[in-house]
């Protein structure tokens, strides 16, 4: 056992060390960010808690009027053990939540005067109530709260924050595994270290929200895609790719791009196997059968979710309307910079950015990296290697989906929308940066890059987050 552990760690030393770094930073984030300050934390916890406290099984599901105080949603049988109706809102719980929000200065951090008397519902306080079904995240969160028998409000909040932190660490590991498969261990080590000191990743990975689960789905997807193009068991791997894409789809609408990526990766894998002469009809049949079974199973078990996903996709693809406010170059620039800036550091629901000099520094690095990718492509006579094509393709799908939805509908961008493809993004970021330098300079460049991001992280915590959140 010890031998196995030693062998495991020896081959993954940098990953283990990066895990240590990320672990400490997650602890700091858990300590510093006050309760309810992560984006929409009250809404996410409310829905998970309602599901956890629901104890009136009712197979005879009857929809109440939409205007009712307690809107019903159907919890899938296979996830809950029994179908029963549950509510989306609970006035008693909301009052308790709002009192806790007031105790922890929620309005002050949002730059608003605390109302007196307090609002009676989250909607009245300007927060949205979760409008999706009881997706994978909420059902799992509710199960965790029940399993650990956590009943106090803050106890539930911190248990779910800790779960998010664990998902963040798993994301690091899966991201590393995928990058190692495609790009080799050195690049994987470097991206693992970068990810472990990226401030926004630590912030996002300590909030109660479906985001960390989507990020993990994205990282597993990246890993399995890498396995698909480097390994032998392609049918099994295609199945896993689709399974994890499905988990993403059933977690949040933000997981829909994973479905598009899964389709693209499957087609690419078939084309490649045809091209290299390794294509097997038996494999195609087996993969198609597995996917058909999976698809039928999902449609039968979760008809509502499938309809929701298809409706979102249909509206996105067919709607040609664009919010008039989005149709300007100025907004395009603002949207793009905000999206990129907030992938590095932007605290408090996009209210507290990094110091401006540091913001410009990372913007400069991103521009240099993007141009460096062009330089590297030119050096390779515009024939980049397959790993670069795969990484670029996944990032392109994610970015395209953000612009197709958020930009077009004039919804504020958030860098965390890029996090499902964080591992390939960081790999491309490094490849772009090193494109300007000879190979012998790469070690110094890598050390310099990590040092710069660490300093950026330190400045973010010491100059913005701690003074803001710890009076």
């Amino acid at each position: 056992m010890l031998m196995l552990l030693r062998q495991f760690v020896e081959r993954r030393w940098v990953l283990v060390l990066a895990t240590g770094v990320l672990g400490v930073r997650l602890l700091v984030a858990l300590a510093v960010v006050p309760p309810w300050q992560q984006p929409d934390e009250p809404s996410h916890l409310l829905f998970a808690r309602i599901l956890a406290e629901q104890d009136t099984p009712d197979v005879g599901y009857v929809l109440r009027p939409a205007a009712s105080d307690a809107t019903d949603v159907l919890v899938p049988t296979f996830l809950q053990g029994a179908s029963f109706r549950t509510r989306r809102a609970d006035p008693g719980l909301e009052r308790e939540l709002l009192t806790s929000m007031a105790e922890h200065g929620w309005w002050r951090y949002y730059g608003r005067p605390q109302p007196s008397p307090l609002p009676t519902s989250l909607t009245e306080a300007g927060l949205t109530v979760v409008d999706s079904g009881p997706t994978l995240y909420y059902v799992t969160a509710a199960w965790v709260l029940r399993a650990f028998d956590v009943t106090s409000l803050l106890g539930q909040l911190y248990v779910l924050r800790w779960i998010s932190a664990l998902l963040g660490i798993a994301t690091l590991w899966c991201g590393w595994a995928g990058t190692r498969k495609l790009f080799g261990v050195q690049l994987a080590d470097l991206t693992a270290l970068l990810l472990s000191v990226l401030p926004q990743f630590a912030l996002v990975s300590t909030g109660v929200s479906p985001g960390p689960l989507i990020n993990l789905c994205g990282a597993i997807f990246w890993w399995q895609t890498a396995v698909l193009f480097t390994g032998e068991r392609s049918v099994r791997t295609v199945g896993l790719v689709w399974l994890v894409a499905l988990a993403g789809l059933l977690t949040k609408r933000a997981g829909i791009p994973l479905g598009v990526m899964a389709a693209g990766v499957t087609v690419l894998a078939f084309v490649r196997s045809w091209w290299t002469g390794t294509f097997k009809v038996r494999g195609l049949v087996a993969a198609s059968a597995a996917m058909l079974v999976l698809a039928v199973g999902v449609v039968v078990l979760l008809p509502g979710e499938v309809e929701r996903i298809l409706r979102t996709l249909w509206v996105t693809v067919t709607s040609r309307s664009m919010n008039p406010e989005s149709a300007s170059l100025e907004y395009f620039e603002r949207f793009t910079w905000t999206l990129l800036d907030s992938a590095w550091f932007y605290a408090g629901w996009m209210r507290y950015p990094a110091p401006i000099s540091w913001t410009w520094l990372v913007r400069g690095l991103m521009v240099v990296s993007l141009l460096g990718l062009g330089v590297a492509a030119w050096r390779h006579r515009m024939r980049p290697s397959l790993p670069v094509v795969i990484a670029f393709g996944l990032v392109a799908v994610q970015v395209a989906s953000i612009y197709a939805v958020h930009f077009r509908l004039h919804v504020g961008p958030q860098g965390q929308y890029l996090f499902p493809v964080l591992a390939p993004m960081l790999a491309l970021f490094w490849i772009g940066l090193r494109g300007w330098w000879p190979v012998r300079r790469w070690p110094v460049l890598a050390a310099g890059l990590i040092t710069t991001v660490i300093l950026f992280d330190l400045v973010g915590w010491s100059a913005v987050l701690i003074p803001l959140y710890v009076g």
Binding site: V439, P443, L455
Partner: protein
């Protein structure tokens, strides 16, 4: 070459590692240890103006929400056309919602020697738990006759949503210029305070300090391993193309 194959490890570059460790420790000591100003303010801007006169029965009050801990000074910007008659009566109340208003501190400040644009700094007993609380300051010069009172710098608009100005109880679309100050506090001192309250289910200050040191060691060791592992120009090492 397979992606799992290790390239030949180079000897550690000690200059690089020492430099990295020095930069890390130096930056942490400076960034976490240096005192940072604690203040909340409605600052003077191009649109700020002097208005009204506080004298006799006319009193003004300004509410404000403190984000700082250990509030011990309030600064105002009064203006007197002529020497003011009588002292400025200053009263500070805690008007945090969910509780009754509470008198905190009061003083009479002599303002007969005010120079132009001179801020008036009023010391208050240190309020250890001021962060997040809402305060109201009441200002009056009851002994002054009209023309011998005080005016104050203000700023019109909704620039400060965390409080409001009222004249004789009537809310105005403006705010007094003010600063709430507390002694400078380092990021680490703030962290210690947060870790000691035990609300966030994380280790205490000493354990966290040890963990931070360990994280530094992990970073330096991680960079050393990565650099010593060597880099090659190949990108698709795992692919059999």
């Amino acid at each position: 070459m397979s992606a799992d194959t290790w390239t030949v490890r180079r000897a550690p570059d000690w200059r690089l590692l020492t430099g990295l460790a020095a930069v890390l420790v130096g930056a942490e000591v400076y960034l976490l240890g240096a005192g940072r100003v604690q203040q909340d303010a409605v600052a003077r801007r191009p649109g700020s103006f002097v208005v009204g006169e506080v004298s006799g029965d006319i009193a003004i009050s300004q509410t404000m929400t403190a984000s700082i801990v250990g509030l011990d000074r309030v600064t105002l910007w009064p203006v007197a056309e002529t020497a003011s008659e009588g002292p400025l009566v200053f009263r500070l109340y805690d008007v945090t919602p969910l509780g009754p208003p509470e008198f905190v501190f009061g003083t009479n400040v002599s303002v007969d020697h005010l120079a132009e644009d001179q801020p008036l700094v009023i010391g208050v007993p240190r309020l250890a738990r001021s962060a997040g609380r809402r305060y109201r300051i009441d200002l009056s010069v009851p002994d002054a006759s009209p023309g011998r009172g005080l005016s104050f710098w203000m700023h019109e608009g909704d620039g400060y949503p965390l409080g409001e100005l009222a004249v004789n109880g009537r809310t105005q679309p403006a705010d007094l210029l003010f600063t709430l100050r507390a002694e400078d506090l380092s990021a680490w001192a703030r962290m210690v305070r947060r870790l000691n309250d035990g609300a966030s289910l994380v280790p205490g200050p000493l354990a966290m300090l040890v963990l931070l040191m360990l994280a530094n060691v992990c970073v330096v060791a991680g960079v050393e391993r990565m650099v010593a592992g060597g880099f090659d120009a190949g990108e698709g090492t795992g692919l059999s193309e």
